[in-house]
């Protein structure tokens, strides 16, 4: 039947038949292979269309033009339909593949390594960053330290109980007159820093500190402190309060309130303890597990730098004023994260450490 295409007398009718049959076949083609076969059969090299084209040469010139246009029109139409159908089939196949390769997103098929910084490290870095944002540098210093920096430079009297072997750990090292110890706080860093830097000074000093305490739920012989020091021409008490309030809001939450209470430290005068409002209950609940209904959480010690400290490091107390503060990193972590025993920090149980992302 399609061979009739080479017969000009029947060309019109034959093309029409081919067209109709092929159009129907294209629309019924259900995969790209079938479609390719239909395409080849209709317009391919061996197809009736190709044969018809080849036969055009035998036609009279006046017939050739009309017949050629007729053949081309049908060929173009069929090719376009094939292409259209091919796109449809491709889309179907893509959709089928996508459906078939579905995964269950609730399953961990692959796990990449992910470690943790120790929660103490995290808190230390975070506190330091808060103070960096307030204009502070970070200063560090030796842990095996001269008693002079740990006590004398900080206005600690020679008979202060903190100097007793029951409180402070001493080292057998060096000359007897340069008594050596494991620093009992990170304040020696402040004294060292002031010795080697002119005011203004805005530093925080993070690090380990040592006390002769047996391990229990609230004591470790080694713990971490962050001490801060600001020395400038006109530092006032309100600057201390405002700075620590800003710290507390950044660390515990933006609605945190602070309260200072008078206290005593040898290296500051006036001295104070800083309480922060309970972040858990905002100071409102008598059953609060964090503050036990007190509403305030005792957080750190602070005060205006004692003039004797300035003198010891070569600053003129008539020229500068300053404030200092010191906080226990373990305490900050315990309070904010509800950690019930300080022992967890040195147990290094991976199941504990992994709980704190960061």
């Amino acid at each position: 039947m399609t061979s009739n295409l080479t017969n000009p007398m029947n060309l019109n009718d034959s093309l029409d038949v081919l067209r109709r049959e092929t159009v129907a076949a294209i629309s019924e083609a259900s995969d790209s292979e079938t479609l390719a076969a239909i395409e080849a059969g209709a317009v391919g090299r061996e197809s009736p269309i190709a044969a018809a084209r080849r036969s055009l040469g035998k036609m009279a010139p006046e017939e050739r033009r009309d017949a050629g246009r007729l053949i081309n029109d049908v060929a173009k139409e069929l090719e376009a339909l094939v292409e259209e159908r091919r796109e449809e089939l491709r889309a179907d196949e893509r959709a089928a593949k996508i459906t078939a390769e579905a995964i269950d997103v609730t399953v961990d098929y692959t796990r990449l390594p992910q470690g943790r910084l120790h929660i103490i490290q995290q808190v230390m870095d975070e506190v330091c960053d808060i103070f960096v944002g307030l204009g502070y540098h970070i200063a560090e210093g030796p842990e095996a330290e001269l008693a002079w920096y740990n006590f004398d430079a900080l206005n600690t009297p020679p008979d202060h109980p903190g100097r007793l072997e029951s409180d402070t750990m001493y080292l057998d090292y060096g000359k007897p007159e340069d008594e050596m110890l494991l620093r009992a706080h990170t304040s020696p860093i402040q004294a060292r820093y002031m010795e080697t830097h002119e005011p203004p000074v805005y530093i925080v000093a993070p690090g380990r500190a040592y006390r002769n305490d047996t391990i229990d739920a609230s004591h470790l012989p080694v713990f971490h402190q962050i001490e801060g020091l600001a020395v400038d021409e006109s530092i006032e008490f309100s600057d201390l309060k405002g700075t620590l309030a800003e710290f507390a809001r950044q660390f515990f939450g933006s609605t945190t309130q602070v309260r200072m209470r008078p206290h005593f430290f040898p290296f500051t005068e006036p001295s104070a303890e800083l309480d922060v409002s309970c972040f858990n209950c905002d100071g409102g609940e008598s059953s609060c597990r964090v503050c036990k209904g007190v509403g305030w959480l005792e957080m750190l010690g602070c005060g205006m730098v004692d003039p004797n400290v300035f003198t010891a490091v070569g600053y003129d107390p008539e020229e500068v004023t300053g404030f200092a503060f010191g906080m226990g990193v373990e305490r900050l972590a315990m309070v904010r994260h509800g950690i019930d025993s300080i022992r967890h920090f040195v147990d290094n149980d991976v199941r504990f450490l992994n709980q704190f992302p960061g």
Binding site: G115, L117, P142, I235, R261, E269, P270
Partner: protein, 801 residues
């Protein structure tokens, strides 16, 4: 310091009863309230009664039948098992319907056939103390028929205050009252210390030879004192203060200590040998039996009071058993002495005898308080125990303390507290503390001797700030210069984060180790002993007396502990200081204490897919981590075979930066793995952190070539011990066109042959490489390899991409 509110009111009129307001006042005065305890009557329907008659019980020998007057005109028949009273005694009586502490209900019931309408109560039954041998016998003048609690100052509130070490004056009720009086701007009512005395000299003289240890020694002698129980009002106050009642003589000395803040000691005058007491330093080895029955060996740093037979009291800390007040005491030496605070501190700690008295002496008791406190004690003892007070007072006073004058100018106040504090405001605040203030161009403040903490202008500024109420200060933030992390600090954090990103968990360990542990990772031991060890003079435990020289023992212990908790993979790192007993380059005065970084990993480690296990950590893991650190920190870390104590002898690299050894990476020595009880291989690294995090020159961009690359592989036969990393470096070194090179196969035959296959990628910055050029580069590399002793086995084509 436990402060009963009812007792406190004796010395100051408080404008409020509100507990939270008072708590705030204490807190803001700097005497933090650690606890608020409410005292209430733990009973209902207990009344004061008078026993009219006592008769035997008809059916029982151990109990008696009493008739009691409860002020209602009736006689109440009550059965009682106690025998410490007779008719006429005034007693607490629980009537039928009463409920005693513990929910114990009292009713009318028959006891062995006789009806009992209530119960006469003991201390313990009322929750007032431990005594249960007899019932409570009250003062004869107690009001019959009144509720029992009406004579007990109940309800009451006790504030437990934390008194800072610089405030001896607040260690007594009077001092506490003085603080509240300053807060509320009111007056203090001081206790009565006027005495009725009789002429007479004490039987003793007192000599102070240790004048550097004793500031003052005041004593009075009392005669014919009747020893017995102290009255209920006093024992109740002691109870609320947390002090156990003992006898009127001892209770009075405790009471006055709590009231005035000056400790007191009562001797039995007849038990003192001879007629002379001496205060002297103890001789080393001397012994004294203290009140608690302990025989204590003394040192030359202890102060003792001695009589003719030797030490009779450990001065300031505890009396001696020999001169203790006993049941037969009637002649009493009441002593109020003040001692050098450090001496008391050392003695009380050395003998582990910390007490209410030592807590006061350590803060520094005012010697000028001694006479009033002593008189107060004698007065009270006379009131409750009778007897006479001899007129002549023993008063040795080797070290006199005088009030000090402190000048304070306006600038000093304003520099610290702000311009809101002019001289007039400062003056009025200081006057509230009852300080003597003279006003001129500045303030001249005379500080009484009970405030040894106020010696300098800054100390007065604190008082001004305190009374101004810290809550009234504004919150301001100073505008200082810009802050920031130092480069080394930023890079240290980067090092932490690189390890964290690689899947390691940071551990923090204590730096104390035993001597034996030091040797495990120290290659310089002599006869098994590590050199340059820093020793703690006063360690917590003898097996924790040394400071670590390596982080690995601590980490490995934690690896084992986590393994024992059932974790298959344990991957830990730590950064921290290690210590060596030699001068530190950073500061020659202190021991060397560099910061180290260490890693320990065991078990499957790395990425993990379902069904495909990650490989077990081993030396290659350690090397990969070193590579991570080097690439992440931008530091070239050289690796070469190395040996180090504790590390596997053939699976360990020595690490170096610029030729200087930095540390080691590899595997734990199998023997140590066994010693640490860790099964399987353990990847370990330990290195000095400082060289890794030191500042680096800024990296300058290299142009990235846009021309095609060429890859080819070369496979070499090498000696089994060849440093193949060096071979790669050497072959790369002869060509300027190598973009990258890596070993992708390292084959070892059973018979000791080894082949290493290297993939090179060549690329020129400015042109497409032609085949002649590539062949030339390849030839140069093969020749260089041959020069290194590596024989070409084969190679792939040079396929341009």
């Amino acid at each position: 310091m436990r402060v009963s509110l009812n007792w406190l009111r004796e010395y100051v009129d408080l404008p409020t009863d509100d507990v939270s307001e008072l708590k705030r006042a204490f807190d803001m005065l700097g005497h933090a309230v650690e606890e608020v305890e409410h005292f209430t009557a733990g009973w209902t329907d207990v009344y004061i009664g008078k026993v009219l008659r006592v008769a035997p019980h008809p059916n029982a020998d151990a109990i008696r039948v009493t008739h009691v007057d409860l002020g209602d005109g009736e006689e109440h028949q009550i059965i009682c098992g106690a025998w410490n009273f007779e008719a006429g005694a005034v007693v607490p009586v629980a009537i039928p319907g009463a409920v005693l502490p513990g929910g114990f209900e009292i009713g009318t019931r028959a006891i062995r056939g006789v009806e009992s309408h209530g119960m006469i109560c003991s201390e313990r039954e009322l929750g007032l103390g431990e005594l249960h041998e007899g019932i409570m016998v009250l003062d004869d003048d107690a009001p019959i028929g009144a509720p029992f609690e009406s004579i007990l100052a109940l309800p009451d509130v006790v504030f437990d205050l934390e008194i800072t070490n610089n405030r001896p004056d607040v260690m007594g009720m009077v001092g506490v009252a003085r603080e509240l009086a300053a807060w509320y701007e009111t007056d203090v009512k001081y206790p009565d210390v006027t005495l009725d005395t009789v002429a007479g000299d004490p039987r003793l003289e007192v000599v102070i030879t240790a004048t550097d240890g004793c500031n003052r020694f005041v004593a009075r002698e009392m005669r014919d004192v009747s020893i017995g129980a102290a009255p209920l009002w006093m024992t109740e106050r002691l109870r609320k203060a947390g002090v156990r009642a003992i006898s009127n003589i001892v209770d009075v000395s405790n009471y006055v200590m709590l009231e005035m803040g000056h400790p007191m000691h009562a001797f039995d005058a007849d038990a003192i040998a001879g007629d002379r007491l001496e205060v002297r330093w103890a001789a080393a080895g001397e012994t004294l039996e203290t009140l608690d029955g302990e025989v204590r060996e003394l040192t030359g740093d202890d102060l003792v009071i001695v009589d003719d037979e030797g030490p009779t009291s450990l001065a300031a800390v505890m009396g001696g058993a020999r001169s203790e007040v006993v049941d037969t005491t009637s002649r009493v030496i009441m002593e109020a002495a003040s001692w050098n605070p450090p001496t008391v501190m050392y003695t009380s700690r050395r003998h582990d005898l910390r007490s209410e008295a030592s807590a006061r002496f350590e803060r520094g008791v005012d010697p000028n308080l001694a006479d009033d406190a002593n008189a107060r004690a004698c007065k009270l003892l006379q009131e409750i125990g009778g007897g006479v007070i001899l007129e002549t007072v023993i008063d040795e006073h080797p070290n006199r303390f005088e009030p000090v004058a402190v000048n304070l100018n306006e600038r000093t106040v304003q520099r610290l507290l702000g311009t809101g504090f002019d001289l007039a405001r400062a003056e009025s605040l200081l006057r509230r503390l009852h300080l003597d203030v003279a006003v001129g161009s500045e303030l001249e403040v005379t500080v009484p001797t009970y405030r040894p903490d106020l010696t300098r202008p800054a100390d007065l500024v604190e008082e001004i700030a305190r009374l101004a109420d810290f809550d009234t200060f504004a919150e301001t933030v100073p505008t200082g210069p810009a802050g920031g992390l130092l480069i080394e600090q930023r890079r240290s954090r980067l090092a932490h984060n690189l390890l964290r990103g690689a899947g390691l968990i940071q551990a923090i360990n204590l730096p104390f180790v035993a001597e034996e542990e030091l040797a495990a990772f120290n290659s310089d031991t002599v006869d098994g002993v590590a050199p340059l060890v820093v020793t703690v003079r006063n360690p917590l435990r003898e097996d924790q007396a040394k400071l670590r020289q390596s982080l690995l023992p601590g980490l490995l212990r934690k690896v084992r502990e986590n393994r024992n908790r059932g974790l298959e993979t344990v991957a830990l790192f730590e950064s921290g200081r290690v210590f060596f007993a030699q001068p530190w380059a950073d500061d020659e005065r202190v021991p060397e204490q560099p910061v180290r970084l260490a890693v320990a990993i065991t078990g499957p480690f790395g990425g993990e897919g379902m069904g495909s296990q990650s490989s077990l950590a081993d030396a290659t893991t350690a090397l990969a981590l070193v590579r991570n650190l080097a690439d992440g920190l931008g530091v070239a870390i050289e690796r070469r075979p190395g040996t180090q104590a504790g590390f596997h002898p053939t699976r360990t690299a020595e690490l170096a930066v610029d030729g200087a050894v930095l540390g080691y990476a590899g595997e734990l020595h199998p023997e140590l793995a066994e010693a640490f009880e860790i099964s399987g291989r353990v990847a370990i690294i330990e290195l000095d952190l400082d060289p890794l995090v030191a500042d680096q020159p800024s990296v300058q961009m290299r142009q990235v070539s846009t021309y095609p690359h060429v890859d080819f592989d070369l496979s070499f036969e090498v000696d089994i011990g060849t440093n193949a990393g060096g071979l790669v470096a050497a072959t790369v070194g002869v060509s300027e066109l190598v973009e990258s090179a890596s070993i992708f196969d390292d084959y070892r035959s059973g018979s000791g042959e080894r082949a290493v296959a290297i993939r090179y990628r060549l690329r020129a910055p400015d042109r497409t490489l032609d085949s002649d050029e590539i062949a030339g580069e390849r030839e140069k590399m093969i020749n260089e390899a041959a020069a290194q002793g590596a024989v070409l086995r084969g190679g792939s084509g040079t396929e341009a991409q």
